[in-house]
Symmetry: C2
Subunit: 345 residues, 2 copies
DNA sequence: CTGTTAGCGCCTTCAA
DNA sequence: TTGAAGGCGCTAACAG
């Protein structure tokens, strides 16, 4: 009974008639306590509603059993799955997850990361937008930082990432085989490594006859919605999007403009968030393995926690192409840009 | 320079040629330090890359500046909006968010809540599924627990919730006015207070000529998908869903069965998650104020932190009806159940 | 096997 | 205004 938050180890010791050391041993599961004594302690603890103060434990042991996670935007479902998997894996090992939302701001990301490192055993930074220089700051911190979806040469941080390049090349190949030659690409945040990889792939796709025009958008539904008109100016037969959210927004705008998808315009996303298959038409996209990312991220963390460093480098995770109904062969006669699309009345 | 995580206040004190007390004063922003000394300390701290150890601070002050948040399922966008708002509001006050995912399991929920209370200043439990009895356990803990979306008579915990009852009545009224008389309701998790409220509303809707049949589903897309066939057995002209995710799943199954929405079947959700408007057809639903929930939850927490208790009770938050294209007048002639729907070949 | 004791890193009186 | 010193609650040697 009583406010368990206030019951201290000393009170339990008194109640059980032992020293605090014995109580501590019982609570931490040490085997070296006489059974009857241990039982007495357990009963006293239960009656008082004692729960060890995690903060004090943390200070004494130097271990908080908390992992920090920094994501660019908590509103993006893509990160849910990563977080959920990471959280589950960590939870299974008795670790808790401290989450921070950087709001797509590289500076905030850096600040949050620094702050979190003061109170957690390790930090996972997902799709970091901060500069390579900023990242380097974390290299010497006992290697307590793990990167997700960011590969940077010369940065000695453990990482696990999705192979955006290959996946984007596959999406492009799919469109090329359908007969598309001119596509618009609604680009993601500039600082995003994934964005850079995806665009790099598209640039190379030119060798296969696919000309891509990049239009700045972002990573959100609104960004996709807002970039469509500009994208239509280049008279593409397909719109490729940085991710599924952007594709959702683009789809909404296309429908508004009366453009048939995929009849008049093919549309592709990236990530394969759960909703992608429920769009109308269902989205052709690349199935980024979010769960796997989260799982492996925790694997890296726990290896670091155990050995001081990961046992091995992780290969890039594949994001297989998922062909659904939002892509088709281009119309024989390209559609005339509408008034709304060209901006001319 | 150096591993900032390991720089201690003592080292800064030595470097600056002062006592640790002075360093502490400077770091906590006390005004009582001679300017030049303070400057010396600040420089030393910066050079060493010193950052106070949050755990030690927590132990010394008894304040961790962390709020815990327990949600039923980290994969549901609904909760992300709440979390995002809560996280933002808390962050603005220098608080961090410790998140736990209960996986829709009442026991895990209770365990996680107990555990979190050991390491945070306050706890927000969102849409708790645990029993009233279990909740009561938290009443005496210095009132450090705030409830979201759970109203229970006789439980003295601060809370903020959405008025599911009224909202569901409005959705039902909307359907009734369109001419519907027989609807199926894909029910949410039994232990959910919101579910209970929503069903209570539907029961009362009978008075207005709307007969609802409840079909157990759940809170996820899969649950909705899986419950449609059973729901069609009662030959409804509309399917009402516990939430938008369920509606998404139901929609997918209806499309699969070749049932036209809303031509042959009206469909409603609840919550108005961002994707609801991007469904095809866009979903008629109730706009649950997630952001507001998160914001007010933090408001309650900070009032508790400041005064020991909230200044006032919070009224139920309205969830306005949002009519979109997924609802229409029922077909004059009800559709014959398909083979798939009845289970007969 | 159990108790005593020295920290963990920081904050905060209390004296000076 | 500054420093010395006593905790915060717990763990982990070290004795006994």
């Amino acid at each position: 009974m009583g406010r368990s938050g206030r019951v201290t180890i000393q009170q339990v010791a008194d109640a059980a008639g032992v020293s605090i050391a014995t109580v501590s041993r019982v609570m931490t599961g040490a085997e070296t306590v006489r059974p009857d004594l241990a039982e007495r302690v357990r009963r006293a603890a239960a009656e008082l509603g004692y729960r060890p103060n995690a903060v004090a434990q943390g200070l004494a042991t130097g271990v908080t059993r908390m992992v920090g996670v920094v994501v660019p935007n908590l509103a993006n479902p893509y990160f849910y799955d990563v977080i959920k998997a990471l959280n589950a894996a960590a939870g299974a090992d008795g670790y808790r997850t401290l989450i921070a939302d950087a709001n797509e701001d590289p500076n905030e990301e850096l600040e949050l990361s620094r702050g979190l490192l003061r109170q957690v055993d390790a930090l996972v930074v997902v799709s970091p937008r901060m500069s390579a220089e900023a990242l380097r700051e974390f290299e010497d911190r006992s290697l307590r930082v793990v990167l997700v979806n960011r590969v940077a040469i010369g940065i000695g941080l453990p990482a696990v990432s999705v192979d955006s390049f290959t996946a984007m090349l596959e999406i492009a190949g799919h469109l090329a085989r359908l007969g598309h030659t001119r596509v618009a690409y609604l680009a993601g945040p500039e600082q995003s490594w994934q964005q850079q990889e995806r665009w790099r792939a598209l640039s190379q796709a030119a060798a296969f006859g696919l000309r891509a025009t990049s239009v700045p958008a972002g990573a959100t539904i609104d960004a996709g919605y807002g970039a469509v008109d500009e994208a239509l100016r280049s008279q593409p037969t397909a719109i490729m999007c940085h991710n599924d959210l952007v594709a959702f927004g683009a789809l909404a705008r296309l429908i508004e403009l009366g453009v048939d998808v995929p009849g008049e315009m093919s549309l592709t996303g990236f990530d394969d968030i759960e909703f992608a298959r429920y769009a109308t038409p269902p989205l052709t996209t690349a199935a980024s393995p979010q769960r796997e990312l989260g799982r492996v991220a925790w694997e890296l963390v726990s290896e670091i926690l155990a050995n001081g460093r990961p046992t091995a480098e992780r290969p890039l995770l594949p994001a297989p192409l998922v062909v659904r109904a939002s892509t088709a062969a281009p119309a024989t006669r390209p559609r005339r840009p509408s008034a709304a699309a060209t901006g001319r009345p």
